[in-house]
Amino acid sequence: MSHSLTSPAAGSTTSTPALEIRGLGKSFPIGGLFSRRSVRALHGVDLTIGRGEIVALVGESGSGKSTLARCVARLEKPSSGAILIDGVDILKRDRIQASRAFRSQLQMVFQDPFGSLNPAHRIEHFLRRSLAIHGKGGGSEEETRRRLEDLVTTVGLQADMLNSYPHELSGGQRQRVAIARALAVEPQVILADEPTSMLDVSVRIGVLNLMRKLRDEQGISMLYITHDLASARYLADRTAVMFAGELVEEGESLDLLANPAHPYTQLLVSAVPDPARAGSYDPVRRAELRQAVMASTTCAYDGDPNQACSSEEPVRHQVGDPNNRHWVRCHLYRPWAGNDGHALAGEPAQPDLPASNAQEKASA
């Protein structure tokens, strides 16, 4: 089931998205060995990343974004759902563990560049190894050498840094090495989990610019996972908001952050410090939003999009111009009240409200 609002990718030449996540769910068992209880970390997540598209996944700690990344990277086994790369369900193809073919399609960049590079090896070792394992070395030593130098210059380092050890590099430079290592296998998709949060603030933007450059020049798709809305807006074409293990809103980044429709997104956006709108903090409005967010923790979407919206089972509503591919899934959304900037009702929906006229037909 691909979603009609999310499937057409910006600038895509084919209709097959680079990465497609369908109904992904993950539960972790809690309690003792014989306990049957479990905690639901992910539930019914649908996300599509077109070719050459950068999608940001935002949310607070504990919202499930890292679990999603770990599932997509095959570091965790999802409880349900499908992950498609190039239209092939990799969970079915590589049943037990991730295959080398999968790794050459999808690469990861982790949060901590201090922990992800073995201190005993020179930079050349990491890159050479990636090339060798995936057979991208090119046959001759000169060819490999040329490729290594290409890689480090692509990520903005000097060729002689190949002989450096990780401890000789700054955090930003190490993260560039980690990105070069991912690039070495020529992946289609890069999964970047908070790639800048451990870096000194003044070099963060340089790493974001590098990611954008790779997308522009090499057409690599990216899933950028972050809790920093401002950087998501800066880098990503589209942004998806995760709350309590579910996607609650998604849209073109600029539109989503300018017109957030879900109370949780509004809460997040209003919490970002921004001197340009200093003094905009309104405790009363904040309390309302908080209450609305708390009330929506029971939101669940069980697959049938044609049912009426309710607080238990909200459906996806389209927000604004369809070109922005902006949708929200919340029973509080009132499209006809959207002009005053607060498109949310203060109290839960009455069951007899005609919510269905704004309903998005979600089946493809």
């Binding site: 430079q173 933007i205 410090p273």
Partner: protein, 320 residues
């Protein structure tokens, strides 16, 4: 007009730091962590100290509290608080000075609560030890204090692990203002918290500050947060202040290239998407000169070709 005379309003400065130099002395070599830093904080003023990890901002906070331990040594300069010389205080004076005159909220302070005592016991401790109140009176005040930061007084009986991170942080802030200090030092008070909680806590600190009238030394690397909260701010780099002015002036018109890089590191949430540059890898500033007044109340360390050592190959690489 010298830097220490510029403060928000016409009040007498609460804290006056002059030419503070702190060195970490090793067996073979020593490092200057804070190098001839001067600033002052007026009554009821919120003063921000911005900079990246390792620039010396926490070392300054610890110097003011006299918490520096070997191998750190105050190698020069003076710190005066309300006219008293902090560096010359006796241990007994220091005991009174800390908490009663100046209180500090540390980075990830929520982990500084004692896990085996209830919140109530820990707050009551402050009143019985420092203010000499009876237990009953202390308990009553502890309940008031929690109400001040909007925590249910019934939580006095809770242990730290029963509270969320944000609640613990608020409890720590309540404890810091318990004795109505005239200066509160906040060292990255919200870095370990989610944005939503962060903003609520900052708003609460602002309310408390307005209500109780204390001054604040606010330390963070988040420029956006700092500009929102502070009246005046200083930007530090490598142990030196490179720029100081009213926060709004720094925001509207950052003059030093390092300040500009820090500002550029935080993309805006509104307006068109413009490419930002940040500080390229490998760019370093050395031998930062003393501040000079670039505009009224706006002090900037002069910078030129000799002040910034730029690794040119790196710069070219990062700019691509």
């Amino acid at each position: 007009m010298t830097i220490s005379q510029v403060s928000f309003g016409s009040h007498e400065p609460v804290l006056d730091v002059k030419d503070l130099t702190v060195k970490y002395i090793g067996d073979t070599r020593s490092t200057t962590a804070v190098d001839r830093v001067s600033f002052s904080i007026g009554t009821g003023e919120v003063f921000g100290l911005a900079g990246e990890s390792g620039c010396g901002k926490s070392t300054i906070a610890n110097s003011i509290m006299r918490l520096l331990k070997d191998p750190a040594k105050i190698a020069g300069g003076s710190i005066s608080f309300g006219g008293k010389d902090v560096l010359a205080m006796s241990p007994e004076e220091l005991r009174r000075f800390r908490w009663q005159d100046v209180a500090m909220v540390f980075q990830s302070a929520m982990n500084s609560l004692n896990p085996v005592l209830t919140i109530g016991e820990q707050i009551v401790d402050i009143f019985t030890t420092h203010a000499g109140y009876s237990r009953k009176e202390s308990l009553r005040r502890a309940a008031e204090l929690l109400e001040l930061v909007r925590i249910d007084p019934a939580r006095l009986k809770s242990y730290p692990h029963q509270l969320s991170g944000g609640m613990r942080q608020r409890a720590v802030i309540a404890m810091a203002v318990a004795l109505k200090p005239s200066l509160l030092i906040l060292d990255e008070p919200t870095t370990a918290l989610d944005v939503v909680v962060q903003q609520e806590i900052m708003a609460q600190i602002k309310d408390l500050q307005r209500e109780l009238g204390f001054s604040v030394l606010f330390i963070t690397h988040d420029m956006s947060l700092m500009v929102e909260l502070s009246h005046r701010m200083a930007v530090m780099y490598g142990g030196r202040i490179v720029e100081t002015a009213k926060a709004q002036d720094v925001y509207a018109n950052p003059r030093h290239p390092y300040t500009q890089a820090l500002m550029g590191a935080f993309p805006p949430l509104t307006g068109p998407r413009v490419p930002l540059t940040g500080l390229p890898d490998g760019v370093k500033f050395r031998n930062i000169p003393d501040l000079s007044e670039a505009a009224p109340g706006h002090f900037v360390a002069p910078f030129g070709a000799d002040a910034a050592v730029i690794d040119s190959a790196n710069l070219a690489g990062a700019a691509r």
